[in-house]
């Protein structure tokens, strides 16, 4: 039986203070103020089972961790807890070009999976901005999004099946290798986005999709955000669905050094597939009346130059201070109201807030730029942003997860009964509350 396996039989187990200290934080900016009691670098599923048996026997909370690139505090771990680090489980077990799928361990870096798929003309469609550093397991735990979601879906839409160790050590396989399938409840979907609170994902079967044969890129500059938002609403009304539609507000452009009539807002659009060029022309025709300037990339190099503006925004803001990246989403039609409200919150609070948005799905990243510590004033300001999203019929978190930071507002979003039901499911799967307690719910 697994419970007879002592934890010190696990090779990757350590109480080294340096390792423990390095495993107390993620990229949320939240510091638990202490380090976990121990860290286990699992090297096999047996190690995971042993850790959970130990946790059950000693009633020790377990914080599962990938690359620690999360932005909501989901992987933060303090005194009294054990960190289960899965980054050494990093093999791509199978890549089937014929079935357009891959079977991976959770510690695989998302960009590495994408690169392996590219050798077959395929890609892993979800494209979180963190792909170069985050793990597929972490992406699954938070149901990570990215730039291409409106057209290609979020992480959940690319996960066909999971291999999970439950809190009590039972191991289950969910889902299947087929694209479609309705045998049994959707346990796969339940574990995706559960932030390490329902089980430990030790393997995943993910869907791969063809790399589009062609991509076309356009950028537009506006006098103000209202004009840019009107342009994106006009794209929707024209029933266009680009692969990428990214907005930057004046705060982002200011950090990038822009000024003048074209520094009020920026919109980057990409179309893809056999009709990419015809589709981008349709986009141009819709956007042009609202914009000060529209640039259509003639080649790959020009496209990269336009993308650089979007990519450069966060690094430019990071040069101005410590950043807190928020992640609310609203119905697309409420985007202008959301940005106006956030601008007003910034003015009132005296905190610099710059906003970038995935226009196609209404997901906004208001970025609070802070001089010094993330103090109560910062969190109170973030709370106003959360409340704005809820007031507009939106959500606290489009793609980063609830983690520690957004728990306080979760009940307001879900409603009492749905929140209770979530707790009942958690209790059914983890009755002693050992998996990432205090997170997500």
């Amino acid at each position: 039986m697994t419970s007879t396996l002592p934890l010190d039989a696990v090779r990757g187990w350590t109480t080294d203070p340096v390792v423990r200290a390095a495993h107390r934080l993620d990229r949320s900016g939240f510091d638990p103020g202490s380090a976990p009691d121990a860290v286990v670098h699992a090297e096999s599923v047996e190690d995971v089972v042993a850790v959970l048996a130990h946790a059950q026997a000693t009633r020790t909370p377990v914080v599962v961790r990938g690359a620690g690139s999360g932005l909501s505090g989901g992987a933060v771990a303090g005194e009294g807890s054990l960190v289960l680090d899965l980054t050494r489980l990093n093999r791509i077990t199978e890549l089937s070009a014929a079935d357009e799928l891959a079977v991976v361990e959770p510690g695989v870096i998302t960009a590495d999976l994408d690169a392996a798929a590219a050798a077959h003309g395929l890609r892993y469609a979800p494209d979180p901005a963190s792909a170069a550093i985050s793990t597929i397991g972490g992406n699954i735990a938070t149901n990570a999004g990215g730039l291409r979601c409106a057209k290609y879906g979020v992480t959940r839409d690319s996960v066909l099946g999971l291999d999970v160790v439950l809190a009590d050590g039972r191991r289950i396989r969910t889902g299947r290798r087929t694209v479609k399938g309705v045998a049994g409840y959707d346990l796969t979907g339940l574990f995706v986005g559960s932030e390490g609170t329902l089980g430990v994902i030790v393997g995943a079967t993910v869907r791969l999709r063809p790399i589009p044969v062609r991509t076309a890129t356009l950028a537009a500059w506006f006098t103000d955000f209202g004009a840019a938002a009107a342009a994106t609403a006009a794209l929707t009304a024209a029933r266009l669905q680009p692969a990428v539609a990214e907005l930057l507000d004046a705060g982002c452009l200011e950090a990038l050094g822009a000024d003048g009539a074209d520094s009020g807002a920026f919109l980057l659009v990409q179309t893809d597939g056999f009709g990419a060029d015809a589709e981008i022309e349709a986009v141009r025709a819709v956007v042009e009346p609202f914009a000060v300037r529209v640039d259509l990339a003639a080649d790959e190099a020009e496209a990269e130059a336009l993308l650089a503006t979007r990519r450069g925004a966060l690094p430019a803001l990071e040069k101005l201070g410590r950043v807190l990246v928020e992640d609310v989403a609203v119905p697309r039609s409420r985007l202008p109201e959301a940005v106006a409200a956030i601008t007003e919150i910034s003015r009132r609070s005296g905190l610099r807030i710059a906003t970038m948005a995935h226009a196609g799905d209404g997901n906004l990243h208001p970025i609070l730029v802070v001089d010094g510590d993330l103090d109560d004033h910062v969190w109170a300001t973030a709370a106003e942003v959360f409340q704005t999203a809820l007031d507009l019929g939106g959500t606290l978190t489009g793609e980063h997860g609830v983690g520690l930071l957004k728990r306080r507002w979760l009940r307001a979003e879900l409603g009492d009964t749905a929140h209770d039901l979530q707790r009942e499911l958690k209790a059914a799967l983890d009755p002693h509350g050992l998996l990432n307690p205090g997170k997500a719910l």
Copy 2:
């Protein structure tokens, strides 16, 4: 409290034997041999709550029903049970073109939703063959598929949120109005496909998508299924992803009256979007070397003529006898083996089995054509088809659901632990087992 509301306060409640008899069957071909004790045509959510309160107080099993078009026996109801018919809850409450979503009651006919969306240049992307008769609630209960799934996803991918009455009468809202969102566990996904066993869906927020600007259609005929399967594998290898890729085997073509060198298999392909024409040319270039004949539709009328072959297959088979429509799925690379095995099962059993398949996602519909009753020999033959799918790494059901008919094989597919976990979730949500007992699990 709801439990004080007596069932006879519900206007749509009846024990009329004619109504009861009409509500004992769905389209699965399975006859429970008796009729339900009563039928309630709910006209409000309050009616649903009253029925569930009555069911709890009297420990009466409740079978929720839409149009009764299910093919797996999920809506079959016999003596001792109460049928909760939701077809009168059939309003489209909201249709937002700006947010590309609709809020609907469960009894809305799927095609009616699609037609309402079309007025705004939008469509409800899942397209079950039953769309003209089935309800959106039934589609959600079975996570229905259709022809466009490989490119546009299944029902689950178009459901943003649900309004659900739980077995104990609590009402919850799951999900959201935004395209993305990761606050809390994915209860929406859990209820989609749960076949009326976890709660009663009384409302849904569904995503709408732009109608493609252009569609192109091609048909190809082959000497045998192996050649057609090789052509579809070549399409995959060429990293093409058509919107529709439908296969018919020789049994289907024979029923349609075909003979000659081109009667071994039929492939219908549709591409859509701005690049539809360029993409269909790429499809033609790949398919042509494998085919006896390839026809590219020059206009809408020619496209309809090619589609008629696919659409006519099931009606042609229905003229030859009583049909049992199966619904297995296999990883795409195993399609040729699956069809070969099914052909062998047909030969051995002496039962005519014709197979149509959604080639893009490996979902096969082997259609057993029966002279007379669905007797033990028929079910035993169907069982061989199920086992074939499982042996090839596939699933019992791609899009129709487990219902009554496939329960026996479910544990073999899911594995003991995953099956146990599903039962634990069911017990947490419906401790007295009153919601569609004996189905799905």
